[in-house]
Each structure stands twice: as structure tokens, then as C-alpha cells.
């Protein structure tokens, strides 16, 4: 077993489910011969044929609408949108239809589908290619929202997303697509879609994050460990539905919480976590909850984008504020 990157783990999971389930198919722009702009579907059309891996006309509304049509008629479509910033024309179909078919027909029609969204900034991309828009989806009843942060979790969570009987928005932190390699056994073992991952145990502060920021957050924890500060790191990974219990349990132990996310602050998903801490963990906290987030501005073009994104320094500073507060 060779060590593989996060993007290769995605390809591995896609191929595994294509092999296992003949109703699984892939559609999107350039996903066929070209293998996708990020190479997520590389080799799949050659292997499974053009009836299983379909290039679509260049229209995101088309991809979303066809996907809903396929899913409601017995197929398991996996749609790829090329970049996060192109997902907006798909929202009508996701919100008004995919997320509601089971509910509005009382279970008569269902919509088992996955929308794969290369997500987030930090790759020096052109305009509209770097959006952190996960909270638009976490606000939609009926969807599941998943974001892996390692090759193993990318594999296991994508298998689970494809097998799930309901629509899943699977957001792929493209900045860490090729950050590092790890062994990913192609064993078909899915990960649960409603459990957070505790990546590092600690006792002084709980760092809650997801996606590409897991990298900076772990680095910050490592750096602080050298200074005698013990940080627990949680990768939320499955944002909706949220496994709040794991977060709460950690905060009960540490008494402090810093939420780190790339999306802008106001009504970002960190706000939901902070609100639940206020509701359920107020008396466990010894310091105010801190958020390290993007600013409430569109992510800047790449000359400034690293100043927008959370950094190790910003995370450490937030932790120090929570320590100083108690």
C-alpha cells in the first residue's frame, strides 16, 4: 500500500464505490477524459466508461438539476462543481429540491447524491476560486455537510457520503489536496457522518476547526506545547449534523475554546458552535469563547489572501487571550 495524498484518496474512494455500486455515476465539467481540473476523477472514465463518468454542458445549474433528476430516479450521482465560487447557481436545486424531496413527498421520492466542492483559499487562484462558503449549506435543513482534512478521512467520509441515502455536500479543502501523503487502505471502510475527530488530546484549551485550517491549528498546538500549553484539537469534519457532544465534552475538560475557520466571521459556522457553548457549556467555561476567522470581506486576491486567512500566530494569540482571561 502506497501512501497517497488527499486528492488521490478521493479518487480511490470514487473508484471503490463505482466498482461496488452500478448506480453510482459521476458528472461535471471536464470530469471525463480530462479527469477534472484537480484530477479527482483521473482515469475513471477510461476505467468505467462514458456512461458512468459524464462530462456536462458548461452550466452549473444544469449539473445540479440533472443530478437531482438522476438521484430521484434511482441513480446515485456524484456531481463535481469545479470551484467553490461557481456553486451559487446550484443553490436553487440544492435548497429547494435536493434537500427537500424526501420531506415534501413524505419519503416517496428521495435524493441520494453527493456534490463535491473544491473549497477554500490559499492557492493563489484567480477571482471566485477561493470561497469558504460552508455555512450557506449548514443553514439548509435536509443537507449533510462534510469536510475532510486528511487522506484517510477524505476516503472514509467520501465512501459514507456516497452511501448515505440523503444529499451530502462534500467540501474538499483544495489547499491541502497535496499537502502530505499517508497510507490509505482501500478497504471500503466508511467513517461515520456525525462524529467529530479529536486529533490531539489536551487539557488547557479546546481548538475547534475543520478543513484546511486543521493544518495551522495543529501547528499552533505543537508550538504551544513547547511553551507548556496543552491544546486539544478537534476536527469537526461533519459540520451538519453537528456532533456537539464531542466538543462539549472537551470544553468541560479544558474550560476554554477557540474556534478557527477560514470563512468570514458573521454567521460563519463558528457562530453556531459558540452559541451552543453559550447555551450548554456556560458554566464549564472559564474564559470567553474566541473565534479566529476570516474577516467579513470577500476573500482578497492572492496578494492579500494570506492576511485574510487564519494563521498559526493568530490562533496562538487567541489562545493566550483565553488563558489571560482566567
Amino acid at each position: 500500500m502506497a501512501a497517497i495524498t488527499l486528492i488521490e484518496a478521493i479518487t480511490l474512494a470514487l473508484a471503490h464505490e463505482m466498482e461496488a455500486d452500478p448506480t453510482v455515476l459521476i458528472l461535471g465539467e471536464d470530469v471525463g477524459v480530462n479527469g477534472g481540473v484537480f484530477r479527482a476523477t483521473a482515469g475513471l472514465q477510461q476505467r468505467f466508461g462514458d456512461q458512468r463518468v459524464l462530462d456536462t454542458p458548461l452550466d452549473e445549474t444544469t449539473i445540479a438539476g440533472l443530478t437531482v433528476g438522476l438521484a430521484t430516479q434511482g441513480m446515485k450521482p456524484i456531481a463535481e462543481v469545479q470551484f467553490d465560487g461557481f456553486v451559487y447557481p446550484m443553490l436553487d436545486h440544492l435548497i429547494c429540491h435536493a434537500a427537500r424531496f424526501r420531506n415534501r413527498t413524505r419519503g416517496r421520492l428521495t435524493c441520494p447524491m453527493v456534490l463535491r466542492v473544491p473549497w477554500g483559499g490559499g492557492i493563489r487562484a484567480p477571482e471566485h476560486h477561493s470561497e469558504a462558503n460552508e455555512s450557506m449549506f449548514t443553514n439548509v435543513p435536509g443537507l449533510r455537510v462534510v469536510m475532510p482534512s486528511s487522506p484517510q478521512r477524505a476516503y472514509g467520509l467520501l465512501l459514507a457520503a456516497i452511501r448515505d441515502p440523503d444529499p451530502v455536500v462534500y467540501m474538499e479543502p483544495k489547499r491541502i489536496y497535496r499537502q502530505y501523503k499517508e497510507d490509505v487502505p482501500d478497504d471500503g471502510e466508511a467513517l461515520p457522518l456525525d462524529v467529530c475527530f479529536v486529533l490531539r488530546d489536551g487539557s488547557d484549551v479546546t481548538l475547534v476547526t475543520w478543513g484546511a485550517q486543521v493544518k495551522e491549528t495543529l501547528e499552533a498546538a505543537e508550538k504551544m506545547a513547547a511553551e507548556g500549553i496543552s491544546a486539544e484539537v478537534i476536527d469537526v469534519a461533519t459540520l451538519k449534523p453537528l456532533d456537539f457532544d464531542t466538543i462539549h465534552e472537551s470544553v468541560r475538560k479544558t474550560g476554554r475554546c477557540v474556534i478557527v475557520h477560514e470563512a468570514c466571521r458573521t454567521a460563519g459556522f463558528g457562530a453556531e458552535i459558540a452559541a451552543r457553548l453559550a447555551e450548554h457549556a456556560m458554566y464549564d467555561l472559564v474564559a470567553p469563547v474566541e473565534r479566529v476567522t476570516g474577516y467579513d470581506v470577500p476573500i482578497p486576491l492572492f496578494r492579500l489572501e494570506m492576511k485574510y486567512l487564519p494563521s498559526v500566530e493568530k490562533i496562538v494569540a487567541a489562545v493566550q487571550r483565553t488563558l489571560a482571561a482566567s
Binding site: T61, T62, G69, Q73, G74, G107, R108, P241
Partner: protein
């Protein structure tokens, strides 16, 4: 200069406004007067239902309702041409087509009566529910057609959209993808002249709505939507092409919305009485009745008797609707996901708790 492509749009009509045949080449189904009588009876049943539904809304027993007055020939023609395992993606007033396919009138009433169970059709299991976001259903039908094509099933997906809906990008996207993939897809544009208050001429500079399919490479035809024989003939042809793997069609059915947009609308604010009065002379029941009466297969006596049957059937459906108790509060949670997420369970418990107070 040379011409690289030319296009034309045919207009299909068999029955004139006076109920007389305009051409001799009647399609096979229309040569049997009894078959036409059966379809005419369906049209009368829908008219009876529609009248009753509006009355229910006016007396506070139904929510906002979108009437189908004047669409009977188009709807019955489309629905009766389809096979049961085809899939229909309607907008929100195509009850005639749906009744023919097995949707119950009580389900229509439940839906407009504020109950999701109305969309849990007891009849056509794979048909789409009413679609309020305009035109989006066209792409679902195209996706369904793609599923049929990939699985090599001889089924056709039919979408119905209005003249207003023909302006939506979703409708164009459906046309385009149906052409690109060669899908068994039939798009029925129900041109009833009014998208709430905006007339057909303000929707587009196109001379016909049928021609919108030309850009996608589909077969396109304009049909007299008040002529049941024309509607059914055009649908039969389009479905046959699609089923045989010859691709999709766009059919524009020219008809008229004799009602308000919905019961929440007052069309007198934006259209002239004379226009509506003129439209009543072209409405679909009159001309088919005239034709069938002239053939000697229909009479006033038969119509009165059938109307009595319709009223009884509609009353039974209305009673079934009115006697359906509201769903339990837990229903709003229990169909959202296959398995209720833990995250949502606490909210469900809260709703139950409030019920018991």
C-alpha cells in the same frame, strides 16, 4: 453568403374554434369517437374539480389554489398520451394530466390545504410533486430522462412549464442538455398567455415559444392547446420519437388562462374583460362538445348525467380531504433524513413537549 441552417415551426390543429374538423387526416386514436368521449369526460371532471376547489378556497376551507380553468384539453391530452411508467414533472396547476396518471383529487386538495402528504401520490410513484420554483422541474425531468437512457429503459420524462417559465435559465438548460445527450425528454410549454400579470409578448421577442427548442437541437412544434385532438396527436408523436431513441421535443401548447393566476390574484387589474370574453369562445370544452355532438356520440342528456357523476366524485374527494386530520407534529422531522440525526432529535422532543402542554 450561404445559408447554413434553416428552421420552421409547424402549427398543429385539427378542430376549428367552431368545432368542425379542419383536416381529414385524423390520427388513429381520434377515429374512435368513444375514445374521444372518454377524454372529454375527463376534461369535464377536471372542470368540475377546479370549480369546487376555488369555492373551497373562497369559503376558507383551502389555502391559496392555482386554478387550471381553460387548460383541460392540454392537460388531458398530455396525461393520456403518456405511459404509466413515464415520468411527469409538472409545475403547479396540471391536475388534469395528473388525474389521468392516477393522482387523486384529494391529494391536490391536501397540498393546497397545507399538508405535505398531498405530494405522496398514491398513483404514479415516480412522478414529481408540484414545482413552485419556476422552471426547475424541467431539469429534473432531463435528469430523469438521463437515468432512463443510461439504464436503457424505454421510458420518457415529460416536463410541463408555462410561457413565463420558458424564460427561465433552467428551462433553457433542460433543452440544451436534452439535445446534448439525446434524451427521451418532452418539454410541454403551456402558453396560457399570462405569467401572473405579465403577458406573453413581454416574456420574449421570439415569435413562438416552440422555437426555443431549436437552439438545443430538439423537435419543435406549436399546437392549438384548446384542441384535444391536436394536443394528443402532438404528444403521441413526441413520445414515440423519444421512446425510439430519436431524442427530445419541445411542444408549445397555445391556450388561455381563463382564471386568475391563483386565488390570491385578481386578473381584472391587468387584463381587459374583452380579451377574456374572446378567450371563452375558444375554450377547449365547447369545441370538443360541438364536435362530439355533431358526430352523434354526445348529448345534453349525457352531459347532465355525467356532470352529476363528476359532482359526486368530487364531493367524495372533498370529504376525504376535509376529514383527513392534520399530521402529527413529528412529521416535520421524520421525513427530512432517512435517519433522524441526533442533532435534530432534541428539537423533535421539544416539539412533542409543546404538544403536550
Amino acid at each position: 453568403m450561404r445559408t447554413v441552417a434553416t428552421f420552421e415551426i409547424d402549427y398543429i390543429q385539427f378542430l376549428g374554434e367552431d368545432g368542425r374538423l379542419l383536416r381529414e387526416d385524423l390520427p388513429e386514436f381520434a377515429k374512435d369517437p368513444k375514445a374521444l368521449v372518454a377524454l372529454f369526460k375527463q376534461m369535464l371532471l377536471v372542470r368540475s374539480f377546479d370549480t369546487k376547489a376555488v369555492a373551497l378556497q373562497r369559503t376558507g376551507k383551502l389555502g391559496t389554489y392555482a386554478s387550471c380553468l381553460g387548460h383541460e384539453a392540454t392537460h388531458i391530452g398530455i396525461g393520456s398520451a403518456m405511459q404509466l411508467d413515464d415520468v411527469l414533472a409538472p409545475s403547479y396547476r396540471e391536475y388534469g394530466a395528473q388525474f389521468v396518471r392516477g393522482v387523486k383529487p384529494r391529494e391536490v386538495l391536501l397540498y393546497w390545504g397545507g399538508d405535505e402528504r398531498g405530494s405522496d401520490f398514491s398513483g404514479p410513484a415516480h412522478d414529481y410533486p408540484w414545482c413552485v420554483p419556476i422552471g426547475t422541474q424541467c431539469l429534473h425531468a432531463a435528469g430523469a430522462a438521463l437515468a432512463f437512457k443510461l439504464r436503457k429503459e424505454p421510458r420518457v420524462a415529460v416536463a410541463m412549464v408555462g410561457d413565463g417559465g420558458s424564460s427561465k435559465s433552467d428551462t433553457y438548460a433542460a433543452i440544451n442538455s436534452a439535445g446534448a445527450y439525446g434524451l427521451p425528454f418532452v418539454l410541454c410549454i403551456i402558453n396560457n398567455q399570462w405569467a401572473i400579470s405579465v403577458p406573453r409578448k413581454s416574456q420574449t421577442g421570439a415569435r413562438t415559444l416552440a422555437q426555443k427548442g431549436i437552439a438545443g437541437g430538439l423537435e419543435c412544434v406549436q399546437v392549438d392547446g384548446n384542441d384535444l385532438i391536436a394536443v394528443r396527436a402532438a404528444m403521441d408523436h413526441a413520445l414515440k420519437l423519444a421512446r425510439a431513441g430519436h431524442g427530445g421535443s419541445v411542444l408549445e401548447f397555445v391556450t388561455y388562462r381563463l382564471s386568475d393566476h391563483t386565488t390570491a390574484d385578481d386578473a381584472r387589474r391587468y387584463r381587459a374583460d374583452e380579451e377574456v370574453k374572446a378567450a371563452w369562445t375558444r375554450e377547449p370544452l365547447v369545441r370538443l362538445r360541438t364536435y362530439l355532438t355533431a358526430l352523434g356520440v354526445w348529448s345534453e342528456t349525457e352531459e347532465l348525467a355525467w356532470r352529476e357523476v363528476c359532482n359526486q366524485r368530487v364531493d367524495e374527494e372533498v370529504n376525504a380531504y376535509l376529514q383527513t386530520p392534520p399530521p402529527p407534529v413529528t412529521d416535520m422531522f421524520d421525513y427530512l433524513y432517512e435517519t433522524l440525526p441526533l442533532d435534530l432529535a432534541a428539537q423533535r422532543d421539544d416539539a412533542i413537549d409543546w404538544e403536550s402542554r
